[in-house]
């Protein structure tokens, strides 16, 4: 009896999970479907069956070069992730293992910077970039993406590091490990799943960032977000072309997310049940 109830509950939970997953994934699925419609079909109303035309992909490819913004997206997301890790691993380590009475306040303050609307600092940031010659440069945008994602990275790493028992690090110190040795040989191997999932999430966030990447670039450093934005049209039908451009832009990150979902889920739920 108990087994039957348990089986029924599993079935219900599974179905519910599938429904929720489908609802979350549906906008992406519909974008992909729309990309295989003609412009007239795309605006005609809801339909899950496209005519299968690839004219939008042909138009997108002939209208602009996909490779350059794609490479910029790769460089910016990986570059900003590595830079963020370089800063946040020591920061999270110090806050997790040598907390002071202000550590929680610092963490909250870091998070509070995410609550400010980006547009509020657009002009000051633009002026700084102009004066330092960083407008439309990959270096400038890498730093910018690092800075905006840094609070999340520090928070995530801090949470993972807190899960590692301090006694292990003490034991390492007792055995004569240096600070460097402690971080590299003891802490890092234990925190690899956490660091990996933080990296993946940061890459996704940087890949999808569309406010600063559009406003601080023109041609040289413009990533795929700017590529998508260029297909929206004030007069004329553009939904199918926009969907094709979006599909091309999200495909790499979608594939990466698919293959690394185990690490992502493990990292995101790490410590959640405690």
């Amino acid at each position: 009896m108990a087994r039957a109830v348990s089986r029924r509950r599993t079935a219900i939970v599974t179905i519910a999970a599938w429904i929720v997953a489908l609802i979350i994934f549906f906008p992406i699925l519909y974008t992909i479907i729309t990309s295989f419609k003609s412009e007239t079909e795309a605006i005609q109303g809801f339909s899950l069956i496209p005519s299968g035309t690839i004219e939008s992909y042909v138009a997108v490819q002939s209208q602009s070069n996909y490779f350059k913004p794609f490479m910029n997206s790769v460089i910016l997301s990986i570059g900003s992730t590595l830079l963020a890790l370089l800063v946040s691993v020591p920061a999270a380590w110090s806050m997790a293992f040598s907390p002071t009475k202000r550590t929680k306040d610092i963490l909250m303050w870091m998070l509070s910077t995410k609550m400010m609307p980006a547009v509020a600092v657009l002009v000051p940031i633009y002026l700084i970039f102009r004066d330092t010659g960083l407008l439309d440069s990959r270096i400038g945008l890498t730093v910018m993406l690092t800075l905006i994602n840094l609070p999340i990275v520090v928070w995530m790493l801090y949470t993972y590091f807190r899960e590692i028992p301090g006694e292990i690090l003490e034991a390492a110190r007792m055995d004569g490990a240096s600070l460097w040795g402690e971080i590299v040989y003891v802490l890092t191997p234990m925190a690899v799943p956490g660091i990996a999932s933080t990296m993946l999430l940061n890459i996704i966030l940087a890949w999808n960032e569309a406010f600063w990447t559009i406003r601080l670039t023109t041609t040289n450093a413009a990533p795929l977000t700017a590529f998508i934005a260029s297909f929206s049209s004030p007069q004329g039908l553009f939904w199918a072309k926009l969907s094709a451009a979006s599909t091309l832009a999200i495909a790499p990150i979608l594939i990466m997310g698919w293959f690394s979902q185990k690490q992502l889920v493990r990292g995101l739920t790490f410590g959640a049940v405690k």
Binding site: T40, V123, Y126, A226, S230, S232
Partner: protein, 436 residues
């Protein structure tokens, strides 16, 4: 080193030096058919000017406006040429953000530019932007449906006629709406249409002392007529329809009439996309007998920001892209029907263009009927037919647009929408220092 090596080396050095001196112009633009076409034809320009290279930044209209405004206001210098609308030109020129176009070349023929378009881009007798394509608004209607309704569309209809025709053409069971009009909130969406229409009803945004006029009977007549007409003969969910949504409805044969930008004429008569391509007729935007037609005036223009270091090269490109030669080039490569319309008188005198574009005469008449400096029956302190060329208008126009869209959706009454619009406009104009 022998002589040959020396000469080869010198030549290479010269080539490298020449390449290093090549200027790259960065052009900010919107994604519309004419602009995309121009990007494919620029070889003609770069061949004649091998020392100039072109880079394009294409953005969505609102993002472009915001992006370019930030850059130009902070003198960021990211762009050498801007694509801007008729709304921005007088405001930006007044701020000193644009360079006057004094050196467009001997064969440019400025006098050939359509006077209505040119006047909107001129300040103190100086041209601050060159029009790339221009448009007005007009009535596009289904000839078969109006015939079925037992009516004949005049070349210059009145709103009374449009109301009657729309109601007679409506056949809900067959999915035909008598009229499709913009309802989506936005200063460039429903407010472009309603502001232009209000001119025909004798309404105006402000009196000579910048006092808002939404409490006057002319605005009440405009909005009352619009909401009632759309309820009786408009499509469902009209409050979220903009240009593109109405275009799709018309192309699918679901609208008897559509009053919108003249540029739509080429879309609705294109058999590739439109199911009613051979059944479309054109007429001037309607009036109410007060001497003003509700047709707007808009142009996408190329302008040079004051912060550019490459003004000379930029002006060369602007001259090329808005020249008679460019129109001939498009005609040669893509046919006369694809030539950017609404900028030059000579285009409308060209018999080949008249033959290829059956809507040419109506487009020209519509553009000529618009007067940005005297848009309404009563005098106004501003420039602009479907907008008010002041910096505050983007925000104010959109807020009022939201109120009018809510009235169309039945979320508030016409009287409430107008009263709130009056309050908002009075507050904004006082804050802006227009009302002392």
């Amino acid at each position: 080193m022998n002589l040959r090596t020396f000469l080869l080396g010198s030549c290479s050095a010269l080539v490298v030096a020449g390449f290093a001196q090549a200027e790259t112009l960065t052009i900010a633009t919107v994604n519309n058919g004419d602009m995309v076409r121009m990007q494919t034809l620029t070889d003609d320009f770069t061949k004649a000017n091998p020392d100039i290279q072109l880079e394009w930044v294409t953005l969505e209209e609102n993002v472009l406006r915001e992006r370019v405004t930030t850059d130009i206001a902070t003198k960021g210098g990211q762009y050498d040429i801007l694509t801007i609308g008729t709304y921005e030109v007088p405001i930006w020129a007044k701020q000193g953000w644009l360079l006057p176009l004094d050196n467009l070349g001997a064969d440019y023929d400025v006098d050939d530019l359509l006077p209505a378009i040119r006047s909107g881009l001129t300040m103190d007798d100086k041209l601050y932007a060159a029009p790339f394509y221009g448009e007005s608004s007009m009535v596009m209607y289904r000839k078969d449906l109006i015939e079925k309704a037992g009516l004949t569309m005049p070349d210059a209809p009145t709103w009374e006629f449009i109301n009657e025709a729309a109601r007679k053409m409506t056949d809900r069971e067959a999915g035909i709406n008598g009229i499709c009009l913009r309802g989506k909130a936005g200063w460039g969406e429903n407010m472009a249409f309603l502001t232009a229409t209000s001119n025909a009803f004798g309404a105006r945004w402000f009196d000579e002392n910048w006092k808002p006029q939404f409490d006057q009977p002319e605005w009440k007549n405009t909005l009352d007529m619009y909401v009632k007409l759309m309820n009786d003969a408009g499509p469902q969910g009209a409050s979220s329809n903009g240009f593109n949504e109405n275009l799709a409805l018309f192309q699918q044969g679901k609208c008897g009439m559509w009053i919108d930008a003249t540029v739509a004429a080429s879309f609705v008569t294109n058999p590739k996309d439109s199911t009613v391509a051979d059944k479309v007729g054109f007429a001037l935007a309607p009036d109410t007998g007060l001497g003003k037609r509700g047709n707007w005036l808009w142009a996408w223009n190329l302008a040079i920001p004051a912060g550019t270091q490459k003004a000379e090269a930029a002006e060369k490109f602007v001259s090329w892209a808005t020249s008679k030669h460019y129109l001939d080039l498009v005609a040669e490569k893509e046919g006369w029907a694809n030539v950017p319309p609404g900028t030059r008188t000579s285009l409308y005198e060209n018999p080949e263009y008249q033959k290829a574009a059956p809507f040419a005469k109506m487009t020209l008449n519509s553009i000529n009927a618009a007067d940005p400096k005297n848009p309404s029956v009563k005098p106004v302190p501003y420039v602009g037919v479907q907008f008010v060329a002041i910096p505050e208008f983007q925000g104010l126009g959109t807020t009022v647009g939201q109120l009018f869209s809510a009235a169309l959706a039945g979320q508030m009454s016409v009287d409430d929408a107008l009263a709130q619009a009056q309050d908002v406009a009075t507050r904004e104009m006082t804050r802006g220092g227009y009302i002392k």
